[in-house]
């Protein structure tokens, strides 16, 4: 009986990452100068194209060089490999810390006003760390179940909100010019930070269907974003810009005749999605740490990462973390496009050298 690291199916990876991605949708906080929903509606499909472009070198690298990006980076020399692993580790740790901090912000501002955020950060990290220590196979299976639950809850919300839709709230996305569209495109692309995990974990799936998996991930998340942006826009209108968490407000508005208010389901789903996100990024960080210190067991690596992210999350001031900042876009580009490009360039260079 096999005892080595088990592979997961592509569908499991895609559904798990799609659920994790939903977290950014739930935690969306309108900021000063945020673009209008109409512009976001248009920028979502455009961001899919940008993401596809960003991942083209990675897909090419998988085809021509090898399946694992970090292994390929290792062929470029130890310092380069160490930098790559450290950057991936840092990105994953930052995402865990940011997610914990933002989740605690939501909980203390919208659900438990009197509670302290340390409790939420601590509990989220302990449960997420436990799940991450059980391995990718275990939590990706759970992720696919959670995906089904998320679809069910979102379907219910959609059905409950259908009577509230006011199409009169819609107008042309280009009414304010092209500049808001470019800004929105940058933000929407930066929200696809799960692509870092996609790049890290795709080597654990069956090879040969990379494009299908990527299309699935980008397609599902874009569809969910389109639907909920459309609902927020047509149900809440400009009121959504005044709310701290527009989607939570939407869940409060949604009222199915038999089931009553939907915000309980929304809190349940949000907590579960937050848990899965923290688990996935902790696992990603732990695998990077394990590469740097091979003697460290995965359980210990997860514990160290959880401790570090706990400290980082507490250091992030309340309400400051922004999942779609320009910095995130830069890091995302370097990690998912920069390193594969470097691997491809090195390969081409050595080919030319050997030809001469």
């Amino acid at each position: 009986m096999r005892t080595d690291l088990r592979r997961i199916s592509g569908a499991q990876l895609v559904t798990t990452l799609a659920v994790t991605r939903v977290f950014s949708l739930f935690t969306y906080v309108p900021r000063q100068g945020s673009v209008s929903g109409q512009v976001t509606l248009l920028s979502i499909p455009l961001s899919v194209a940008v993401c596809w472009l960003l991942l083209t070198p990675f897909l090419r690298m998988r085809k021509t060089c090898g399946p694992d990006l970090l292994v390929e980076c290792g062929r470029l020399g130890k310092p380069f490999s160490a930098v790559a692993v450290l950057l991936f580790l840092g990105a994953c740790l930052l995402q865990v810390a940011g997610s914990c901090s933002h989740f605690a912000f939501f909980m203390t501002s919208s659900v438990y006003q009197t509670a302290s955020r340390e409790i939420f950060i601590g509990v989220l990290l302990v449960t997420g760390g436990y799940a991450a220590a059980l391995g990718l196979e275990a939590f990706s299976r759970a992720g696919s179940l959670l995906f089904a639950f998320a679809l069910l809850v979102m379907g219910l919300m959609l059905a409950a909100l259908l009577p509230e839709i006011r199409l009169s709230q819609l107008y042309s996305p280009l009414a304010e010019g092209v500049e808001p569209l470019v800004r929105s495109l940058a933000r929407t692309t930066a929200q696809n930070v799960e692509l870092i995990l996609f790049v890290l974990l795709l080597s654990r799936c069956r090879p040969g269907h990379d494009k299908r998996y990527l299309a699935g991930l980008l397609g599902i998340t874009a569809l969910l974003y389109e639907i909920f942006t459309f609902l927020t826009l047509t149900v809440l209108g400009d009121y959504s810009r005044m709310r701290l968490f527009p989607l939570h407000t939407l869940a409060t508005v949604a009222e199915a005749s038999v089931l009553g208010r939907m915000d309980l389901l929304h809190i349940l789903l949000w907590s579960a999605v937050g848990f899965l996100r923290v688990t996935l990024y902790l696992y990603g960080a732990a695998t990077c740490l394990h590469r740097l210190a091979k003697r460290l067991s995965m359980g210990m690596a997860v514990a160290i990462c959880a401790f570090l992210t706990g400290v980082m999350a507490l250091a992030i001031p309340i309400g400051v973390w922004d999942v779609a900042s320009p910095g995130t876009l830069a890091v995302l580009s370097v990690l998912v496009a920069g390193f594969p490009l470097a691997v491809l360039a090195k390969k081409r260079f050595s080919k030319e050298e050997s030809a001469q």
Partner: protein, 518 residues
């Protein structure tokens, strides 16, 4: 003693502990001398009173018949075994001729074997065999004429159903074989004997269909059983921890049944059963989580009704583990989420009670578990009285005294009844219920959700024999789902045999395992 020494002493095994070892006499071979064999046999039994030895001469050859008192059917023994031997006439009798007659011309018992060591001889005697030792022959003939008292085949107490067989396993091993053999009349049905426990030497049997079972699964089970180090095995539950693997989980990847028809159905799907002498409970390996919600009746009912019952069971499972925790969490932290009328009722009933909701729930479930356990262990006549007293205490007196609110009684009643819909999950359900009440009382809905997620991941990590326990839902095996969320009709179910090694995510690659291959 310093702190370090004290800590080290704690980690050391206790002085009384000795690792289990086998009796050194077990491997000793029988000799040609009848006298020496009898001396050795008496020495092995020591002062035990149940050893019966008759020294007789058969055709003038010194022989001895040995048996364990109370283990042999004396009626059959005297008529079918003793009488033919006493009446035996051989020309020029020699020990070899007598042995040859026993081997080729006699029909003294349906089960006849030859043993060469004292260990084997001892084990057969303990299993109710009669031993015939012949002077000058370094082996013993053993005859299966068992006649020890035992329960007759009866309806299984823990797995009753509406339609289908009323037969359940019994404590004796061999009648259980016949119960299975009658249902699967195939030469591929194999009963592989195993001996378990270094002291108890308990007989067990692995049951499988050799044309269906994964050889890898079989090898793994044999290996785990052979590595097992335990003195006494009295029940199949003793074996489970040795057969399971990490991670530590409240869910088991090994199933238990006392129904021969259930075991046959599982064996036909490529699983391995383990029957053990002395217990009517058979183990099923591997066992999927979704099978806890299946019963034989599901396959006798019409598909639409079976599907409805299946959903009812799933709902009951979630109700029984989550309802008290969620009630405590919502009532304590998010009362605004309750419908206004329910909230008013809750406020009115809770105003008169002195404890918070979580404490009320813990208290009442604690009382309920005490009453249940007492009802289970006490004589049946007294057990009913305990149930009535418990019902009165929980249902009426506690509410009248103002200790708990009436809505909590309803929550407890619904939860307690729901737990019995999937009886095989009672242990994890009880533990989870208490855990979720605590978490719900401390952290609200957020805590319950996170706790539930951790439980789901833990369940998904259970993989005892290379087959994920959460399968076929996660990882998804679409064809296998025909019998999980919906129970399709037999026309669909019979189109392709489902084998446990074919499930997605399975490591048992004999047929269909290539699905996962690179």
């Amino acid at each position: 003693m310093g702190l370090k020494e004290a800590f080290q002493a704690l980690l050391q095994p206790g002085p009384a502990y000795r690792p289990p070892t086998q009796d050194p006499a077990a491997d000793r071979r029988l000799t040609h001398s009848l006298l020496q064999n009898l001396i050795e046999l008496r020495a092995m039994f020591g002062s035990s009173m149940d050893l019966v030895i008759h020294e007789v001469k058969i055709c003038g050859i010194p022989c001895a018949v040995a048996l364990c008192e109370g283990m042999v059917d004396t009626n059959v023994w005297s008529k079918m075994f003793a009488q033919p031997l006493v009446d035996l006439k051989l020309e020029d009798p020699t020990p070899q001729k007598l042995l040859s007659w026993l081997r080729t011309n006699s029909l003294l018992a349906p089960d006849q074997k030859e043993v060469r060591t004292f260990g084997e001889l001892f084990r057969f005697m303990m299993s109710g065999f009669v031993v015939l030792l012949v002077d000058g022959i370094a082996l013993a003939e053993v005859f299966g004429i068992q006649g020890f008292p035992g329960r007759s085949v009866d309806e299984p107490a823990g797995e009753s159903n509406v339609r289908g067989s009323r037969e359940g396993f019994v404590e004796r091993l061999r009648p259980n074989f016949s119960l299975l053999r009658r249902r699967i009349k195939s030469p591929d049905l194999i009963f592989e004997m195993v001996t378990l426990g270094t002291k108890s030497r308990t007989d067990g049997a692995l049951v499988y269909l050799k044309d269906i079972v994964s050889p890898e699964l079989l090898r793994e089970i044999r290996q785990r059983l052979s590595r097992m180090r335990i003195d006494v095995v009295l029940e199949s539950g003793y074996l489970q921890p040795f057969l399971e693997r990490k991670p530590l989980s409240i869910f088991s990847g090994i199933g238990v049944t006392e129904r021969p028809d259930t075991l046959c159905a599982k064996v036909a799907e490529g699983r391995v059963g383990l029957l053990l002498d002395g217990t009517p409970y058979a183990l099923i390996m591997p066992y999927l989580f979704s099978e806890n919600f299946q019963s034989l009746d599901d396959y006798s009912h019409r598909p639409y009704f079976a599907t409805m019952i299946r959903w009812l069971k799933y709902a009951s499972f979630f109700l029984t583990i989550l309802l008290p925790g969620l009630y405590v969490a919502v009532g304590g932290f998010h009362p605004e989420l309750l419908p206004p009328t329910l909230l008013m009722d809750l406020v009115v009933s809770e105003e008169t009670t002195p404890f918070p909701l979580a404490l009320e729930a813990l208290f009442i479930f604690f009382i309920y578990e005490i009453v249940r356990e007492a009802g289970l262990r006490m004589p049946r006549s007294v057990g009913h009285a305990v149930s009535i007293v418990g019902g009165l205490v929980i249902g009426d007196a506690a509410v009248s005294a103002g200790l708990i609110g009436a809505p909590m009684v309803i929550v407890v009643a619904v939860t307690a009844i729901s737990a019995f819909v999937a009886p095989s999950l009672y242990e994890p359900v009880t533990l989870l219920r208490f855990a979720f009440i605590l978490i719900g009382g401390l952290l609200g809905v957020f805590g319950v959700t996170l706790g539930f997620c951790a439980v789901v991941v833990n369940l998904c990590a259970v993989n005892p024999f290379g087959v994920p326990a959460a399968s076929p839902a996660a990882p998804l095996s679409p064809y296998a789902l025909r019998d999980v969320f919906f129970r399709w009709g037999w026309r669909v179910l019979s189109q392709e045999d489902l084998r446990v090694q074919d499930l997605e995510g399975s490591d048992l690659r004999t047929r269909g395992g290539a699905k996962d291959a690179d």
